[in-house]
Structure formats: structure tokens, C-alpha cells
Amino acid sequence: MARSVTTQRKTINTTIAWIIGLLIFFPILWTILTSFKTEAQAINDPPLFLFFDWTTENYATVMERSNYARFLWNSIVIAGGSTLLGIIIAVPAAWSMAFVPSKRTKDILLWMLSTKMLPAVGVLYPIYLLCIRLGVLDNRVALVIILMLINLPIIVWMLYTYFREIPGEILEAARMDGATLKEEILYVLTPMAIPGIASTLLLNFILAWNEAFWTLNLTAAQAAPLTAFIASYSSPEGLFYAKLSAASTMAIAPILILGWFSQKQLVRGLTFGAVK
């Protein structure tokens, strides 16, 4: 009896989880479906779900009109570069805060987080002017640094949370065995925190990949990533929903595949330390 109740509950939970999952995924699914419609089918009322004449014409048009490869490459460099640089800076910072905290550590952590509360547009002009002075407008390196700085508080916070779950005694033991600070972080702490670092890395890569304010405002022709690629297909005067959907699908496809591959690490990292 108890077993059948458990099975029934499991079925209900699974069904609810699937429904919620499908609801969350539906906008992406709809975008993908729309990308295979003609512009007339895309605005059809009632909307066409699966039964329409599928076409790849939108993808052909987008590929012909835009240099997708360049946008993609810029996204990879900017998102990858800013994430890696952020991790390199954040690991020692989070180590220090987790294992050698000072009286002000909590304040520093809160202050770091408070920088995320500032609306980006509030500092657009100062940063724009700075980029002009340094000659780095429309430059991938500038965006790597800016996105790294934007995401750094989140990276430090996430790593700090993971590191706090690691017993300090293990690091002490390493020190007693003669490990230097560098060896302690590289060979003892990092391997133990790999799930946490991996999920931090992935989450921040996704954040940087999707970042649209700075990447749109600081780039033109050379350093524009996929966010600018999508923006180029949006129009308030003309119905280009199918082409916009094709461009959106092409922009999210790499990150969707990456997320699918790394879902185990992501879940493991995000639930790291949740159950003791």
C-alpha cells in the first residue's frame, strides 16, 4: 500500500515537473518552430503549431545576409574570456574570504553585491568615454574586461559559498605537510571544489553569452556578438518574425547544446552542499 502511494506521488510529481518544464521551455520551442515558418504563417491567427509547410528559407536568408561566423566567434571570445578571467581572479579572492576571513569580509561581500544593483545605463556614458580615450570601442578585449567586472561579484559569491562547504582542516593538513599557498589552492582546494567551479563557470558563461546592454552599446562592426546579431533582425516597421526567430535560434543553439552537455555538472554544482 505504502509502495503504491509512493509511486502515485512520484507520478504526480513527475507530471507536474514536466508541465512546469514544458511551460518554461515553451517560448524557446515556439521560437524554433516559428523559424521554420514563412512570414505569413508566423503571424497566422489561430497560430500554427506543427501542421504547416516547414521551410528552411529563413535560415538561408539569415546566413546570406549576416556574417554569422563572426558574431559567433565574438560571442565565444567575449563570454569565454570574461568567464575564465573572472574565475582566475575570483578563486584566490573567495579562498581568502572563506578561509581567512577578516572582520570586514561580510561587508566586502555585501558591497560587491551592491555593485550589481546599479542600473547599467547609469554608467554608460563614463564607460563609453573611457573606451573612447583608451581607443577600445568595438573591441573584444574591452568587452572581456567589462563583462568580467560585471559578473565578478556573482563569481566570487558563488565560489565563496562552495568553498565554505570545504572543511578548513583539510587545507590545514596540507599546510602542515608543507604545501605552499599556491599549491594549497591549486592542488587541494580546486580539485575538491571542481563541481562548484564548473557550475560557476557555466553559469557565468551563460550570463556573459546573453549579456545585451554592454555588448550592444560598445560594439559596432568588429566585436559585435550574437546579441547584436539578434538585434539586427528586430523591426518595429515590418513583420520579420520568422527571420528573427531563425536568428534567435542560431544565437541560442550553441549555449543550449553546451547547457545540455553540462547539465550534470550544473545540477551537481548548484546543489553542492545542499544535502549533508
Partner: protein, 438 residues
């Protein structure tokens, strides 16, 4: 090999291919910021023709209209120098020209024939008589209507109807059971969306944004008549949720046969008569925007134009491009490849003198609409500003966006028209006072 491994390998190969493809690309000579609309995209397709003829490579930065505005405004005000040519409109050109931010286009070649530009367009893109941007295409607004529904309603559309006729026809054409709305109009907040329509409409009702001393005029009877007329007509004959409808939403409704009439940009005529996208392509008629017998019609005037930001290192190349893109020969090139219905309209007099273009069904009505809009004298009573559906002052975009939000809230029934007008009056007067006009 598992599906995951195969996908992984494919993604990796894709990324490598992407990077090598990028490595093969070459550096640009001029960079152009532009909007994503049909005519601009078509121009991008012909860029190779320009490059082959001049050896000048072109890099395009295509953005959504609002993003483009923010982007080019940031760049020009900070002298960022990211673009050699910017696509801007009639609102920005005189303001930026007056600031000295744009290169004057007063030395275009004789072959270019600057005198052929329609005077309304040249006037709106000039400051103190100097042209600062060359019109790529121009537009006004007009009535697009379903000839079959009009006939069914037992009415005949005059060439120059009044608002009373439009309201009567809208009511007669409305068929809620068959999802047909008598009229579709913009109601969406935004100075270039619902704000443009209601301002142009207000002109025909004898209303104006400011008196000659820059005092807001929303407390006048003319404004109350305008907004009440709009709301009553739309409540009776408009589509559900019209307060959030903009150009695209109405285009979609019209193309699916759900609007009896639509008053909007003349450029929409080519969309609604295109049989590939429109289900009503063969039953569309055109008429001038309505009036109230006060001497001003409810049509606006706009141009997307190409301008050169001052300080660009590529001024000569940029001018060469502008001469090519806005020339008579470019129009002929498009006509030859894609037909006369697809050439950029509303910029040159010679286009409307061309017998081939005169055969395009909406050509004459577009010209008549453009010619009937007067940006120098847009209203019944005198005003201190230039512009038909906007006032060409830097503060206008911000103020009009807020005002149109109040109007949209009234259309949606969230507040009364009187409250919306009172708030509009306060918003405008406060902003004008802060800016030092009053």
C-alpha cells in the same frame, strides 16, 4: 558514438569553422549604422555593386530602430567615431545639424542632382537651409482600406475623407462575429508609435503641442476633442487591446483581413498589397489621411536618411556612398532587379514623374500625402517648432514618450481621458520649465 558525443563533435567542428571563416574576413573601409527595414536590407544586398565600382568596402551595423537611436545618439554626443554613416530621421537631423555634429551635404555632385529631392524632404532634413542628411526613402501616412468591405457597407471612400466619415465607415464595416474591426490605429505608448498618430491627428483637430511661448496646450478643447474622438471610435470599431497595438500589430491584423481601414505609414502599402504575405492584397484601396475641415490633414512626414557624423576619418568615402545609395541610378538598379514597386519611395521628384512608377497603385497617393504635410506649418494655429508628428527639439522624445504612456493608459481604460490630458499638461510644462523654455 552516442548522440551526445556526435553533437559535441559537431559543435566543436562548427566553432572551428566559425573561427576560420572569421579569420578570412577583411577589414572594412566605412561602417554604416542602419535600421532593419525592407528598403535598408535591400540596399545592403546591393553593396557589392558599390564596392565593385569604387573599391570601398562597407560594413553594416543593423539595429532595431530604438536601439539604433540610443546607439547613434551615444556615439555622436561623445564623438565616439564608431560610424562613418548613420541612418537617422527627420527628428534628429535638424537638431544635430544645428549642433554641428553632422557634415553638411552642400557639395554633392551635379550628377547627383540635389534639386531633385522632394522639397518637403529636403526641408525636414536641413538646418538653416543646409542639407545635413540625404533621404533614402520618405513616407507620410494615409488611409489603407478594404474596397470589398467598404462596398458591402454601402459606402464609397472619398479621396480626401473627413474624420466623421471615417468613424461612420468604421462602425458600418465592423463585424464582431467575423472578427472584422472597422478601423485599426496605433495606440501603443512611444513617441514614434501611438504618439506619432495622435499628434498628427491632433493637428487636424486644430490642436498643437505648444503655443508660441512654449506653453503646453493639452488643457485645450481641441486636444480633448482629439483624444475623446480617437477613444470613442476605437472602443466602438477598433480591435481588442488596441492600446498596445503598434505598426506591426496592425499590419498583421490588416494582412489577415481583420481591419476595414488602417491609417498608417505609406510604406505599409507595399506590404498589404504583396500577395505573398497579405490575404487581402487584391482588395486594398488608398485615400488621404482624414481632416476636420480646418485646413490640416492627419498625415505625418518622415524620412530615413543617411548622414555623416562630423569628425569621421572617411568623410570622402562616406559621401561617395551616400551619393550612390540615394541616387537616381540606385532607384533604377532596384527597379531593374526587383520591379518598380520595390524602389525606395518618397525621396525624389523624378521618381513620381516616371511613367513606369506611376503604374504602381499607391504611388500617387504616397506623393499626394507627402506633399500635403508641411513640417514648417504643421498646425492650424502657429507653433514655435518644426515637425508634423513631433516637435524638433531635443526634449521632445522624452516628453512625448511619457505623454503617450498616459494616453495609452486612457485608451486601456486605466484612467479617464481628462486625467490623461491633465497629466500630459503637467508633464510637458514641468519638462519645458526644467529645460529653460519657459
Amino acid at each position: 558514438m552516442s548522440l551526445k558525443s556526435t553533437l559535441g563533435a559537431a559543435t566543436a567542428l562548427g566553432l572551428i569553422a566559425a573561427s576560420s571563416a572569421y579569420a578570412d574576413s577583411h577589414s572594412p573601409s566605412i561602417t554604416i549604422a542602419t535600421v532593419n527595414n525592407g528598403d535598408m536590407i535591400r540596399m545592403q544586398g546591393y553593396t557589392d555593386t558599390f564596392t565593385e565600382a569604387t573599391g570601398i568596402a562597407v560594413e553594416w551595423v543593423t539595429l532595431e530602430e530604438n536601439v539604433l537611436r540610443q546607439r547613434v545618439t551615444t556615439d555622436i554626443t561623445t564623438k565616439g567615431g564608431q560610424f562613418d554613416i548613420m541612418t537617422i530621421g527627420m527628428y534628429e537631423t535638424p537638431i544635430w545639424g544645428a549642433q554641428g555634429w553632422l557634415v553638411p551635404l552642400d557639395d554633392l555632385s551635379a550628377e547627383y542632382d540635389a534639386g531633385d529631392i522632394l522639397p518637403a524632404m529636403a526641408g525636414g532634413l536641413s538646418h538653416d537651409g543646409t542639407l545635413y542628411a540625404a533621404p533614402f526613402y520618405g513616407e507620410s501616412s494615409m488611409i489603407m482600406y478594404r474596397t470589398d468591405l467598404m462596398e458591402k457597407a454601402g459606402l464609397e471612400m472619398p479621396e480626401a475623407p473627413t474624420w466623421d466619415f471615417i468613424a461612420e465607415a468604421a462602425a458600418a464595416m465592423t463585424d464582431r462575429d467575423n472578427e472584422i474591426n472597422g478601423i485599426c490605429l496605433r495606440g501603443k505608448a512611444g513617441w514614434g508609435e501611438g504618439g506619432a498618430l495622435i499628434t498628427a491627428m491632433a493637428n487636424s483637430f486644430g490642436a498643437r503641442w505648444f503655443d508660441e511661448d512654449w506653453n503646453a496646450q493639452f488643457d485645450t478643447e481641441a486636444w480633448a476633442n482629439t483624444v475623446n474622438f480617437y477613444k470613442n471610435m476605437m472602443d466602438a470599431s477598433g480591435p481588442a487591446g488596441y492600446a498596445t497595438n503598434g505598426f506591426n500589430e496592425n499590419l498583421s491584423l490588416f494582412q489577415q483581413g481583420k481591419c476595414g481601414m488602417w491609417i498608417d505609414a505609406t510604406v505599409a502599402a507595399s506590404f498589404v498589397t504583396n500577395a505573398n504575405d497579405s490575404t487581402v492584397a487584391d482588395s486594398v484601396g488608398f485615400a488621404l489621411a482624414p481632416d476636420n475641415g480646418l485646413g490640416k490633414r492627419a498625415n505625418w512626414l518622415w524620412a530615413w536618411a543617411l548622414a555623416i557624423p562630423a569628425g569621421t576619418q572617411q568623410e570622402a568615402e562616406a559621401k561617395q556612398f551616400i551619393e550612390w545609395a540615394t541616387s537616381k541610378s540606385y532607384i533604377e538598379l532596384v527597379a531593374e532587379k526587383e520591379g518598380w514597386a520595390n524602389v525606395p519611395p518618397g525621396a525624389r521628384k523624378s521618381l513620381y514623374e516616371n511613367p513606369e512608377y506611376q503604374k504602381v497603385p499607391f504611388a500617387q497617393m504616397t506623393l499626394d500625402s507627402i506633399l500635403s504635410a508641411d513640417p514648417e506649418n504643421p498646425t492650424v494655429d502657429p507653433v514655435p517648432y518644426v515637425g508634423v508628428q513631433f516637435a524638433a527639439i531635443p526634449e521632445f522624445a522624452g516628453i512625448a514618450t511619457e505623454v503617450s504612456q498616459e494616453f495609452s493608459a486612457a485608451y486601456a481604460g486605466q484612467q479617464s481621458v481628462e486625467d490623461a490630458l491633465a497629466k500630459a499638461q503637467d508633464i510637458t510644462n514641468e519638462a519645458m520649465e526644467a529645460a529653460g523654455y519657459r
